[in-house]
């Protein structure tokens, strides 16, 4: 073989006019994805109860409060509308948000193993564009698709001494997950021009620890606080270590007022240092630390003298999303409502939440979504 046969290399490097491989196309799909928040369906409904809720992935101490041995499953589809000028996309994004199991450990202890979606990176875009190939300009349709998430698996132990007036807990967090991406560029004349079809899997692995406490000094008032300390996180492409960074730290506070019979009022604040992820991706995926504030209420109402109360909830949350869209910070507001109902004679319960999300960033893109959250708990 003659050494590459004296390549008459024009080696003209061309780039597509509009194509990109990070083409998320939504405000929520930027960077490493949409932060799911780690809230259970019930906490999504009341907006601020995550620190007191053992099914949420926030306060490890909460797993010991009010729960018996059981299995928990949560499904969070989103019906999203993205609008830019006269163009509108309507999408349906199914998300499996959480799966967990809880065991009682002695009279005052509990062990929980759960996995929650931390950053969901599910999107797909399709664009029409063109490029020069050889001597011709050719049109193509390019489809970018991403699915998968960084998930947070948590092993928790919690203990509630002093007749339940205090609960403390600690958890080990394992962050795993994949983003499965596919890029397909098909030219209009697919016989003459080859179709670019690539698939790649990004794999994540990281860890962290968290601890939390819940204090109930009086029956009508509770305080909760928790914190997570992140260790390292690695990004591998096809088993090759690509980048590494740190798992975001998190700290959260919440207060609950139960002074009015049948009514619980809650408020919470939560801060995540997402910027610790910087370096895991490119500079374009730079994350910023974000606050989340929530207020909400649960209303209990007995349906009969035999059956446990149904709980109705309303809430409001506002938060900053960690990844900017085209350099502009994205804020999200969530107005929520829902109910929790026992079924099967108390052996199971279903939690429903409906959320109206409005996301804003500077620029012409507007994003609104209906989120549905369904949690199912089974207690054998």
């Amino acid at each position: 073989m003659k050494a590459h046969h004296s390549v008459m290399s024009l080696a003209v490097v061309l780039s597509a006019m509009t194509s990109s491989v990070g083409a998320q196309g939504t405000l929520t799909g930027q960077g490493f994805g949409y932060p799911m928040g780690g809230l259970s369906a019930r906490s999504k409904a009341n907006g601020a109860g995550g620190e007191f809720d053992g099914q949420s992935a926030r306060n490890p101490a909460a797993v010991v409060t009010g729960l018996r041995t059981g299995l928990y499953f949560q499904y969070d589809p989103e019906f999203r509308q993205v609008q830019q000028g006269a163009q509108t996309d309507n999408n349906v994004v199914p998300r499996f948000a959480a799966l967990g199991i809880l065991f009682a450990a002695g009279e005052r202890g509990a062990v929980s193993l759960s996995t929650h979606s931390l950053l969901d990176r599910t999107w797909s875009t399709q664009i029409r564009s063109g490029q020069r190939l050889g001597s011709d300009s050719v049109l193509f349709t390019e489809t970018n698709r991403s699915s998968g998430a960084i998930n947070e698996t948590r092993l928790t132990y919690a203990y509630a001494p002093f007749a339940g007036k205090v609960a403390i807990g600690a958890a080990f967090h394992l962050l795993t997950g994949e983003n499965r991406l596919r890029l397909r560029r098909q030219f209009d004349d697919s016989l003459r021009y080859g179709t670019l079809d690539r698939e790649i899997t990004l794999a994540y692995s990281g860890s962290g620890f968290s601890a939390g406490a819940i204090l109930r000094p009086v029956t009508w008032f509770s305080l909760a606080a928790s914190a997570r300390r992140g260790a390292g996180i690695e990004l591998r492409v096809e088993d090759t270590l690509k980048t590494s960074a740190s798992v975001p730290n998190r700290i959260g506070f919440a207060a609950r007022f139960d002074a009015i019979p049948g009514v619980s009022l809650m408020a919470s604040a939560d801060r995540a240092s997402w910027s610790r992820l910087n370096g895991l991706g490119s500079a374009a995926a730079s994350a910023r630390d974000a606050w989340e504030y929530g207020v909400g209420a649960d209303f209990s109402a007995a349906r009969s003298q035999r059956v446990v109360n149904w709980v109705y909830s309303v809430g409001y949350r506002t938060r900053e999303l960690p990844f900017a869209a085209a350099g502009n910070p994205v804020d999200e507001r969530l107005l929520s409502g829902g109910l929790s109902a026992p079924i099967g004679g108390g052996r199971a319960s279903v939690d429903l939440a409906v959320l109206r999300a409005t996301r804003q960033a500077s620029g012409s893109v507007a994003e609104r979504a209906w989120q549905l959250s369904v949690g199912l708990t089974v207690r054998p």
Binding site: M1, G22, Q126, I127
Partner: protein
């Protein structure tokens, strides 16, 4: 009523959950505003990737022609056609009895004709000759002397308006009868003559368009209808496939000379096809996605015959493995479909582009478990059926005129990291 609404809410939620299971992610309205990222890099390179080329003849084989060209174009082209009827009927059943054929009438050869591929601009004369010989009648040198007057079996004149889907060429009855009552077989050669250039495209048994020999075996009895005799070849006795091929075949009495070595010849008579072997860098074949690959061939005008007419060029991938070192054999093992088609006029010149991306995609090491040759055969769509011959400069030509390969590719670099 108050107690019913939670149930309604539950039902609505169930419906919404069901709707939420139907994933619909495709968007793009916010692109390119929200679609920043790394641009896909496409590299455009021209390679001297053709490392070997040659011109091959012998396809189609004698008797394997898809159609039979009967042509007379002055000093340029002269082709003849031979039909074998190696088993002639000598007896017929008549009035319940068996009787010998002693007289015939209305004997003719019924030929299928492709009017689209036939070209005559003046009346043509088709003469039928007895080309039966004990010598090897597949050799041109043995056959051509047999097209002489004392072997004339008949003939017909065809006017331009008679070029339809079939034609009849009549025998002299007595001469055909002598073949029936004599050796019992007929090998008839056809020659066309005309005041102007003439080409008739006759049907071939390879395409199921068999010629038929027809005659009235009892002219005195109108109740006996004409009989049809099918093509049949009894030789060679040791090869059934060749024997079948030789039921009808074409003989080239005169054709333009073979071009020089500087040229890749595609088409012509006898039919020629060009074999090109490639070496493409592995970084393109194995580490990139080939979006476009164009074989750049520089055409040298061939104005010897019908310079302004056109011929369809078909590049086909050689499917033979690397162990097949016999080029003619490798050139016969081709992909079913061409990777491209281009139409050229033999008299034109300039660079022609043949799209071969599909071939490069087959040549990757990953998918090439059978060690398929990285080679193309370029042939004419009317191979062996047309004298049109397109010429392209070969590797023996000056460097600027040689075949080249232009490739647009995208390296398989990682993507998707935000």
């Amino acid at each position: 009523m108050l107690r019913a609404w939670p149930r309604v809410a539950l039902l609505a939620t169930v419906c919404a959950v069901a709707a939420g299971c139907n994933e619909d992610l495709v968007g793009g309205a916010a692109c390119p505003a929200l679609c920043p990222g790394t641009s896909l890099v496409v590299t455009d390179t021209v390679l001297d990737a053709v490392v070997f080329d040659t011109v091959l003849t012998g396809t189609p084989s004698l008797g394997g022609e898809g159609s039979l060209v009967l042509s007379a174009r002055g000093d340029t082209v002269d082709t003849r056609v031979v039909f074998r009827f190696d088993s002639l009927p000598t007896r017929i059943t008549r009035n319940g009895g068996d009787s010998a054929i002693t007289a015939i009438d209305s004997a003719y050869l019924l030929l299928r004709l492709d009017p689209a591929a036939s070209k005559i601009s003046a009346p043509v004369r088709i003469d039928l000759f007895d080309v039966d010989t004990t010598a090897s009648d597949t050799l041109t040198s043995s056959l051509l002397p047999l097209f002489r007057d004392d072997r004339l079996l008949g003939g017909s004149t065809i006017d331009t308006n008679q070029v339809k889907d079939s034609l009849r060429v009549y025998f002299t009855n007595a001469r055909l009868l002598s073949r029936i009552t004599g050796p019992g077989r007929l090998r008839v050669g056809l020659r066309v003559t005309s005041a102007r250039a003439a080409t008739l495209s006759l049907g071939s048994s390879d395409n199921g368009d068999d010629a038929l020999l027809k005659f009235d075996p009892v002219p005195s009895d109108t109740a006996i209808k004409e009989i049809a005799v099918l093509l049949r070849s009894n030789t060679p006795t040791d090869n059934a496939e060749v024997r079948t091929d030789l039921q009808d075949y074409m003989v080239i009495a005169k054709a333009p000379p073979m071009p020089d070595a500087e040229v890749l010849s595609i088409g012509g008579l006898p039919a020629r096809r060009s074999f090109l072997r490639f070496v493409v860098p592995p970084r393109i074949l194995d580490s990139a996605t080939v979006l476009r690959a164009t074989l750049l061939l520089t055409q040298r005008p061939n104005r010897s015959i019908d310079a302004r007419d056109s011929v369809l060029i078909l590049p086909q991938v050689v499917t033979a493995g690397e162990e097949v070192t016999d080029f003619p054999r490798a050139a016969a093992l081709l992909s079913l479909f061409p990777v491209d088609t281009i139409r050229v006029a033999p008299g034109d010149s300039g660079v022609r582009q043949v799209e071969v991306a599909a071939a490069l995609r087959q040549w990757t090491s990953v998918g090439n478990t059978f060690r398929q040759q990285r080679a193309l055969v370029i042939r004419s769509n009317a191979e062996g059926q047309s004298p049109f011959d397109a010429h392209f400069f070969s590797l023996r030509a000056p460097a600027a005129l040689r075949p080249r390969l232009r490739v647009s590719y995208s390296l398989r670099t990682s993507f998707g990291v935000p």
